[in-house]
Symmetry: C2
Subunit: 136 residues, 2 copies
Amino acid sequence: MKPTHIEHIGIAVKSLEEGIKYYESVLGLKCYAIEEVREQKVKTAFFKIGQTKIELLEPTASDGSVGKFIAAKGEGIHHIAFSVEQLEEVLKEVEQKGARLIDKIPRKGAEGLHIAFLHPKSTMGVLTELCENKND
Amino acid sequence: MKPTHIEHIGIAVKSLEEGIKYYESVLGLKCYAIEEVREQKVKTAFFKIGQTKIELLEPTASDGSVGKFIAAKGEGIHHIAFSVEQLEEVLKEVEQKGARLIDKIPRKGAEGLHIAFLHPKSTMGVLTELCENKND
């Protein structure tokens, strides 16, 4: 596995509206897209900074992963996503090396990326997403 | 304020040795530097991925910020650092816009960067570092 860059950093917020206001007015970033990912029970807002995106995540239900995260820990950094090529092969490789896969097979995430999550118990406490952009 | 890229992501780990092993063997990154930052009571290990660094932080004392973080929340993502220019001006600007400054004046961080932290209570739960590289 050779990740090329940090694709995005996922940040859990209670309110997308408040989050967008903060990232635009204080940090000077520009929200370029808002998207609902129903399967994940979140609404997302995207900002680009260099090679990386900030992905704000507002839960649309309390029983989704982000809703549970906020209930347990409050707002804050939720996950890091690494950009990789040949995601299916990479998943086999990292599993063999001891990572625990939340997604054994890549699935569709926001922005049409192919994504898979690794369990934080196997990644030093960091919820880790691997993603491949097949649109490039 | 116009941050140019994510300078680094700080990740709290109990053991730098275990952390380096995981990031090298599973994620395929290469540790290029280890540095102790006494003032912060941490030992750090750096990995480069695209424009961004992963900075692993092992506490050298339980009463430092990272030691307390691990005691309260366990290992995991600790902070995000944005690269900016003219940090002193930026600090005045973000304070005026409502951010609470942990460091009113920039100080020296790892790798000789000038750094300042914003309090997570004013940044949607994200411990946010701003840093300027005057060595470039």
